[in-house]
């Protein structure tokens, strides 16, 4: 049974340092269930570190991260979260199918699950190909497929659509939407602004701080522009003025 009470993710005053520098400066936000939340911001703004903290693989300095009502990283969450890293985490010396069969076995997912997710990410034609011989886009889709195995309640995807052609990108976003309609919570990071419009909710990060948190419509309205890229710029200016 899915526990539908409370937010999917609740982060409070999260601080993380990497290599001696603080990269997240006390973030506080919540992610509601059954929605696609976009994590947007330029490269180096702390998206990946935040995602790693949510998944529970990041050593954090201070603050709290609760995921599906449990502290991030607790053993109960390990079957409930589908996680896809930015660089494709699959075995280059195994075929796509062998990779997915192995990860499915680790998750205890059914035998046909590997075939299902291969179809979902559109890799049926490459299922017998070795990971090392895939193109960049195919590789990242294979990695995404691993995150879809089983029945995750939360999908955390770090830049899953980088380098994909527009048709494939559209297909994947449709898949994300349909998963959300089934009640799955998705957190998807991106540095491409045109993907932001497809999310229910946006969290904009810049230099380890939250710049904005709201619906795409709300952000456009607030900034007084229809273009999200421009809205992002205005928010940065606004903040700079406040500091001054």
């Amino acid at each position: 049974m899915m526990n539908l009470s409370g937010p999917a993710i609740a982060v409070r005053d999260l601080r993380v340092s990497r290599g001696g520098t603080e990269v997240l400066h006390g973030l506080t936000f919540e992610v509601p269930r059954g929605q696609v939340t976009g994590l947007l911001g330029p490269s180096g703004c702390g998206k990946t570190t935040l995602i790693r903290s949510i998944v529970g693989v990041q050593i954090v300095e201070s603050g709290e991260v609760a995921v599906l009502g449990e502290p991030a990283g607790s053993p109960a969450l390990r079957r409930k979260i589908g996680y896809s890293t930015q660089s494709a985490a699959i075995y280059r010396d195994l075929t796509v199918l062998e990779n997915l069969r192995y990860f499915a076995a680790v998750l205890g997912a059914g035998k046909d699950d590997a075939e299902r997710v291969i179809e979902e990410v559109g890799l049926a034609g490459a299922r017998k190909q070795l990971g090392g011989s895939l193109s960049g886009g195919q590789l990242s889709r294979a990695s995404l497929a691993v995150a879809l195995l089983g029945t995750p309640e939360l999908l955390v995807l770090d830049e899953p659509t980088v380098g994909l052609d527009p048709v494939l990108r559209q297909d994947l976003w449709r898949l994300f939407q349909s998963l959300a309609e089934r009640g799955v919570t998705l957190v998807v990071s991106s540095h491409v602004m045109d993907e932001a419009a497809r999310c229910h909710r946006l969290i904009m990060l810049r230099e380890g701080e939250i710049l904005a948190d709201g619906s795409p419509e709300g952000l456009r309205e607030h900034a007084g522009t229809t273009d999200l890229e421009e809205a992002f710029l205005r928010l940065i200016e606004e903040k700079a003025e406040r500091v001054r």
């Binding site: 390990r78 996680y83 192995y102 680790v106």
Partner: protein, 244 residues
Amino acid sequence: MNVAITLATAGRILAQLRHDRRTLALLVGVPSVLMILLRYVIDDPSAFNRLGPTLLGIFPFVVMFLVTSITTQRERATGTLERLMAGPLGKFDLLVGYALAFGAVAAAQVTVVLAISLTWLGLDLAGSVWTLILVAVLDSLLGMALGLFFSAFARTEFQAVQFMPAVVLPQALLCGLIVPRDAMAPWLEWLSDVMPLSYAVEAMQETARTGDFTGVLVRDVLIVGGCTILSLVLGAATLRRRTP
């Protein structure tokens, strides 16, 4: 421990090796060629009878150290380890999976080298072939466990390769291959006494020398087994769910 995950992991590692025919050929071929070289370089059957079993103890140790440290380093670098650690896989599922897969490869390796040595090269064994294989597999597991442990200190594959001479060569020099251990200076003999490969090689020599399961052999097998388990536990401690 989860048997299904452990077996899936062992199967996955064997599948990776199956796709890498060249590595497989090197794993089995190189020790055989070295053994043949040794036989004709020495060109003295009684000296070969003394040195041959020693090398049979060293080969699987060295090869498994190298293969394991690089494979594990690669798992860390490509992110598959992080992915597994974020999921329900237990540390010992992974370690025992490695042990099963590489133990099987070691058994195949030793069987081929032994077959060539006993027939073509005229190696004269007093003990049973099975004891020899058992001791060789144990040696290889020791190499695997140490390789796993030391791979944690290698940031790159390049460093992982450098650990091989650093960890293996001193042990090979001190294990009685070149000079009998009791003929060394006391401080070297003492060093030799605390190095696990010394006992692995002694067990091999003992098996070759006498047909009985002597007290020395039992002691050596226990020491090698103990060191293997100790290194596996230390190796498990280096597999972190959370990283900086």
